[in-house]
């Protein structure tokens, strides 16, 4: 076959078009739905302690989500967003990282943050927008962030974090930090221009970044297949941009762990950016503002319930002899109690001082901002009953 040497492209003399079948991407699965291992499957690196920590975090997130949805329904918090059914994707991937690696989330990766060590009190302080919230009560619930844990603060606009991850990883590479950035996003956000910019730039600059797509089937009400994209999901785009790419069963925590461990190696040791597409299902509504019965069937949800990542890992842990049903249940009860206690405590912490309204717009508040705050305080003093959250605490 002749070759165009300038571009290193084969020359053909018959017109033919490629279609999606030219690239079929399989899905890595280690644990079957019943929790048993596929025979001959190569396992990730783990020990009992790591497995227990992953399982523990999964249970915690399940309880946290359940309890906070209820709290929202009771009017105790304004909004919540659960990760039900996707816990293995965020926790299994976070478990493959080192603590010094940066995580940039979308908004459904509370599992990764909990795995990093964000405490139940810290979760609650953010959810209740109280004075102890690291974000100073400025953002909606679930917009967590923690510099100490290398978890970038969440921003609602979709996909904005993806090119930021490329830039952050570029800095990590230049600093020879030995660390990488893992960036989460959904298959919906992968439609944004930012996604494409991010992958292309990562490919050009060869930076240690892992793009982790949680393909959970829905962007609010919009189903992925046929309405979000016409091709074979997100993974082929990684190949198109020249990235190392893998697709995994997102409900199989061992597959997620294995893929992310290998991805981290590629990223950190070879500066190879990686795309992981984790196939899962958003068992919850998009958020507490959403009601999925308006766009999908109970049968569809039931089908996915059988693939529950927590039940799958639990069966595997029990088979391993690392857990009993009774332990699992008593752990769950302990977590319930801890979540409830933290909730009650956080609820009583007052709101941040009104002075925080003008802080952090810049490194120092401008004179104009100080004047605006003074004017506001004078107004609040005049009408204390209209602003009960702050009128009692202004100087």
């Amino acid at each position: 076959m002749a070759k165009d040497t300038k571009h290193n492209i084969d020359i053909v003399t018959e017109a033919s078009f490629l279609d999606a079948s030219a690239l079929t991407i399989p899905m890595l699965q280690i644990l079957k739905e019943d929790g048993s291992e596929h025979k001959g499957a190569k396992l990730p690196e783990f020990d009992q302690a790591l497995a227990e920590k992953m399982f523990d975090t999964m249970q915690f997130i399940r309880i946290l989500d359940e309890r906070m949805i209820a709290a929202q329904r009771q009017g105790r918090i304004s909004f919540y967003l659960a990760s039900l059914g996707e816990e293995a994707a965020s926790i299994g991937s976070a478990a493959a990282l080192q603590d010094g690696d940066m995580i940039m989330g979308q908004y459904r990766e509370q599992g990764a943050l909990a795995y990093r060590g964000f405490s139940v009190e810290q979760f609650m302080n953010q959810l209740f927008s109280n004075a102890k919230d690291l974000g100073k009560g400025r953002q909606m619930p679930v917009h967590y962030g923690c510099a100490e844990l290398n978890f970038m603060t969440i921003s609602s606009p979709l996909g904005t974090q993806i090119p930021q991850a490329t830039g952050y990883a570029f800095g990590q590479k230049m600093d020879k930090s030995g660390h990488c950035t893992l960036c989460y996003f959904g298959e919906g956000a992968a439609s944004e221009g930012d996604f494409h910019a991010a992958l292309n730039m990562a490919s050009v600059y060869k930076v240690p970044v892992i793009f982790f797509c949680r393909n959970n089937g829905y962007a609010i009400s919009t189903p992925s297949q046929g309405e979000q994209y016409g091709g074979d999901g997100i993974a082929p785009r990684g190949v198109g941009y020249g990235l190392k790419t893998i697709r995994v069963d997102g409900n199989d925590i061992l597959a997620v762990l294995r893929a992310t461990q290998l991805a981290r190696k590629l990223a950190v040791e070879e500066n190879e950016p990686v795309l992981i597409e984790a196939m899962s299902y958003r068992m919850a509504g998009h958020s507490t503002s959403d009601d999925p019965t308006g766009y999908r069937s109970r049968e569809e949800e039931d089908g996915w319930r059988k693939k529950d990542p927590l039940a799958r890992m639990q069966s595997w842990m029990i088979n391993k002899g690392w857990l009993t049903e009774e332990q699992a249940e008593s752990n769950l009860q302990e977590k319930k109690a801890a979540v409830l206690a933290a909730l009650k405590k956080a609820e009583k912490v007052p709101a941040p001082s009104i002075d925080e309204l003008i802080n952090d717009v810049y490194d120092q508040p401008s004179e104009q901002l100080k004047a605006q705050l003074d004017e506001l305080k004078a107004h609040i003093r005049k009408y204390p009953d209209a602003y009960p959250k702050t009128s009692g605490s202004i100087d």
Binding site: S129, R138, S156, P157, T222, P352, L357, A386
Partner: protein, 325 residues
């Protein structure tokens, strides 16, 4: 007449427009069969099919780019951006493409059939990214029209005008009022003029000006002021671009006082533009400085939303300060 809330009025306007002209298309994130996250487009897929009311992938620059192309082809593209806060990926398409399509081509091509619908504004515990009022960014862009309704009646008439206007229109929907604002709305088609303010209530001592959800706040403040014997003239600007200088100036020439309230931050907000123009038009008639009652120059907050919000008490204080100047 039918009792409708603001969402139903918008839905009704879309329904009428799609029935009237089969080149009207409605689309956006989740706007298909589900009817959008606020349900403004509900029922339209059942009625007009998936080819005319449909979901888009999650890509705002794509939605508006697609809409520009569709409008340039001669269709009426009604694109929804789910929240005004998420319009910025489409900023390039709107500012550099939508607004300049006609001018740059010497009127060879235009996107006059384009209408961009988007909910804006705060008061719903939405934090930074579900609360902003982005009108001023777009008001700096010649070639766009910007319209915002204050109630269901206005919403239907203005949206029908916007859809069939021969210029691209950014239609800002006050989401705080989507369900909170109800009123009598004619069931048949009618239009309200773009570029014309509406004198909601006549008065003689002071002019209160606002647009969208802020009109309701002004009305409440006026009720308080009236108890003090202050007669307020209330104007709804309705169109931010182009805006009705004549109606506002005429009112201020009469009252000598102007209070403008806006949800957005102070600096470079649209109230500033109005203040500058009215100062020029009415300089010798002004009894007090034109007052802007606005948000602070900070990102829209969550836990201090109540304090940040331009409520009736702040407007009332501004009225008193203006009267006692």
């Amino acid at each position: 007449m039918a009792k409708m809330n603001l969402l139903q009025a918008i839905n009704n306007a879309l329904d009428i427009a799609m029935a009237k002209n089969d080149k009207v298309y409605s689309f956006g994130e989740d706007t298909g069969g589900f009817g959008g996250v606020f349900r403004a487009t509900s029922g339209l897929t059942e009625k007009y099919g998936r080819q005319r009311n449909f979901n888009t992938p999650l890509v705002e620059q794509g939605i508006i780019g697609f809409a520009n192309g569709l409008a340039s082809q001669g269709s009426y593209a009604v694109a929804e951006i789910q929240f005004g806060d998420y319009i910025f990926p489409a900023f390039d398409q709107i500012v550099n493409e939508t607004a300049k399509f006609r001018y740059r081509s010497g009127n060879e091509f235009n996107v006059g059939g384009l209408t961009i619908r988007t909910p804006y504004g705060g008061g719903i515990a939405g934090g930074h990214y579900h609360s902003q009022s982005p009108e001023a960014y777009f008001a700096h862009t010649p070639g766009l029209k910007i319209v915002t309704p204050r109630n269901p009646y206005q919403a239907k008439g203005l949206l029908l005008s916007a859809i069939f206007d021969n210029n691209p229109v950014l239609f800002l929907e006050p989401k705080r009022l989507y369900r909170a604002s109800t009123g009598d709305v004619p069931e048949e088609e009618y239009t309200l003029p773009l570029g014309k303010a509406d004198v909601v209530k006549e008065g003689k001592d002071i002019t209160l000006l606002a647009w969208g959800a802020q009109c309701e706040v002004n009305e409440k403040a006026a009720e308080m002021a009236e108890k003090d014997g202050i007669s307020c003239e209330i104007i709804d600007l309705r169109s931010i671009l182009p805006w009705d200088v004549e109606t506002v100036a005429k009112s201020v020439l009469k009252t000598g006082r102007l209070v403008i309230s806006q949800e957005a931050p102070l600096t470079n907000g649209f109230a500033s533009e109005i203040a500058a123009t009215i100062q020029k038009e009415c300089f010798l008639y002004l009894e007090s400085p034109i007052a802007r009652v606005t948000g602070l120059d900070v990102p829209y907050p969550l836990c201090h939303e109540k304090e940040y919000f331009v409520d009736h008490l702040k407007v009332y204080e501004a009225i008193k300060a203006s009267m006692n100047f």
